[in-house]
Symmetry: C2
Subunit: 456 residues, 2 copies
Amino acid sequence: MSHTITSLETIVSLCKRKGFVFQGSEIYGGIGGMFDYGPLGSLLKRNIEESFIDRFVHSKENMFLIDAAILMNSNVWKATGHVDNFHDPLCEDVITKKRYRADTLLEDNNINPEGMSCEKMTQTIQEKNILSPEGNKLGDVRQFNMMLKTEVGASSDSSSLSYLRPETAQGIFVNFKNIIDAMHPKLPFGVAQIGKAFRNEIVPRNFLFRLREIYQMEIEYAFDPKSQNADVLFEDLLSQQKEWLVSVGLKSELIHRRDILPQDRAHYSSKSVDFEFQFPFGIKELTGCAYRTDFDLSKHSESSGNSLAFVDSGTGEKIMPHIIEPTFGLDRLFFAILVSVYKEELLENNEIRTVLAFPKHIAPYLACVSPLVKNKPEIVEKAREVFVTLKKKFGNVLWDDNGNVGKRYRRQDEIGTPYCVVVDYESLENNTITIRDRDTMEQKRVTIQELLEIIA
Amino acid sequence: MSHTITSLETIVSLCKRKGFVFQGSEIYGGIGGMFDYGPLGSLLKRNIEESFIDRFVHSKENMFLIDAAILMNSNVWKATGHVDNFHDPLCEDVITKKRYRADTLLEDNNINPEGMSCEKMTQTIQEKNILSPEGNKLGDVRQFNMMLKTEVGASSDSSSLSYLRPETAQGIFVNFKNIIDAMHPKLPFGVAQIGKAFRNEIVPRNFLFRLREIYQMEIEYAFDPKSQNADVLFEDLLSQQKEWLVSVGLKSELIHRRDILPQDRAHYSSKSVDFEFQFPFGIKELTGCAYRTDFDLSKHSESSGNSLAFVDSGTGEKIMPHIIEPTFGLDRLFFAILVSVYKEELLENNEIRTVLAFPKHIAPYLACVSPLVKNKPEIVEKAREVFVTLKKKFGNVLWDDNGNVGKRYRRQDEIGTPYCVVVDYESLENNTITIRDRDTMEQKRVTIQELLEIIA
């Protein structure tokens, strides 16, 4: 009885109940577009990050990781065009003055807004007599800049405006020369980064899907377009992206490729392909891959007066590398993983078990150790020994001695713990324990040594 | 010829040259108080984080990790007193209008500002005729709020003011009930968090020491003051803090305990002890440990109308837990580690070798593999095999075939790589390689199997 698409409510409720995700500032009525990762969520999220670093940095020889500041010199965002172009179409309820995203209102009315200008959207809203969610007329559609601003510094006389970065990518581009000077890479090479970015979404919604504060995982892959075919490289990076998505638990059949139309691409991109995912509320963007050409490096070279060209150490030739950027929204991915791994299964006794079938390396906890009974000190002591051994070796291991074994299994299934280990009467005799597999529900009796090998 | 205190210039220059730390937005002339972690720095930083999580979360049974949003409902900061009390004393050059921290100006003039009010500082500046760094008179000292502000949301009519959190702690407190409901802990238990915080420092300075955008690692440890002695627990947490600092590479003799005077404690603290570190520019705060009592949980219960009391599942008793907070500035710690591990050693041939003697689990790269010579394909091929094996197993492993072996050793010493592995003619005969230890500079010939064991 495996559900194909789990409902939004099911995921949100599980996330709160089990400590994956809480609404930001919840006790104060929340704050739009912010969520907090709870104890299980922060372990899951960190495991996803580790997997990303393993796959795209440590398993490569030409990949570097950086971690740049969120606040940057505001000239960065002038150079990239974000000050002028990083907009969403906004329209206002003429009575309540509440603001909405025009493209989303159109979509909600089954009109595809792809490629529409503000004028075209205004016209469509009028022609189709689309009203605000409160039932009132809507004003003209205009562009709204999505960068969050702040003032940095105590001086009132100096230019102190700064932006909370709307993408992590620019932290990589402005450090391009520093990275080359320190690491002496050859082309092609890539730089990856995991970090926060901020977008002042007009209407954040759909749980972790449209947030104002997001985690991005971005790769800027630099190559010489004269010696490498951009299209071939682009497809190669895309397939790595997809392969990794599946490796962290996404169901392949829920992932869809979408080639972005020229008029819908970001202003810096000459080719964009998204992977979309079948979220509970529809098929929506999950990851992007953009061919940024030399847009960013050239713009920054021009604006800053510092050349970001790559100098070939052999020939001395100056090359302005082109960039392909595979990018992942970590929060969306976290959400998509939960949707993918969530299962409800009808058991023989007619009970339903809820399982999060995480890949082992992603699961918040790897194993849970229990004594069969609580009132037999030798069994408890032996179980503690096993627990301490596992915890020392693997870290993310739980102890649970509440309720009966069946209930403990259900609890661990629901948070996706791959292995449950039970110490029983026989353990005292022959130093074996039972290990129970989350997915098959099979129990095996093994030695402690075998246990360590199975879990590793 | 080991230097006791490395100079600031040496560390800053090494950091840039080798890719540990770059000035934020450097090509645009920078932005005050922001630095970026480069390829080596981001690996080092992540290793420090992992060590923190291992030591304070995974090795415990009653510790949880969370990861809360940077932007919170602004009522959070009213409740905690940050809107009213999170200040630094500021005074202005009456001619240039440039602003300075009054306490720092006093310290620079060998006057201890501890416990001084604004009035007292103003009076002292006048009496001692202290001038601005530009040589002009200074105005009255007043308080300057250090929180960075931003406006969130598109609506102009709703309350949209938000702050970039000045400490990660409150993300833990406002989620206190959510964490209890999800995880069912018993008292005492703790919650840890690693994340960005922002402080609009009047004068950021001293490299990573005083930044405007910082990484904090904080633990909020909750206990019942009726059943546990706060002073004993406080000293226990302090000693864990110090022990861990030493484990990540700090020289114990450079760490000094400092009990903070009542008038210098943060407004929420009834007891504070810092560990200070002998930085190149003096002995300065590195970590803090504060007894926050029930200040935060009570304030939030009151202000939000949601009780954050802990309910004992056995007796039903409601307890407002007290909190002890060990807190680490990750950037400062990163800096202090570099100061501690930096060594210059005079070799027999009168050359000086620079070494970063990181503990093995903290080093950016664990090993570097080289072929003895580049022009012998069998050796190169064999070396590649060893490299691929190590990289698959450990991830952070380098390949280096540039220059001679001596130069490669120097390069790896300078970035703190514990092991250099060289494949040579003998390797082809008997499948052994040489492994060279960074600290002892001893080379040993071992089998591949032994190599894996030594590195692990």
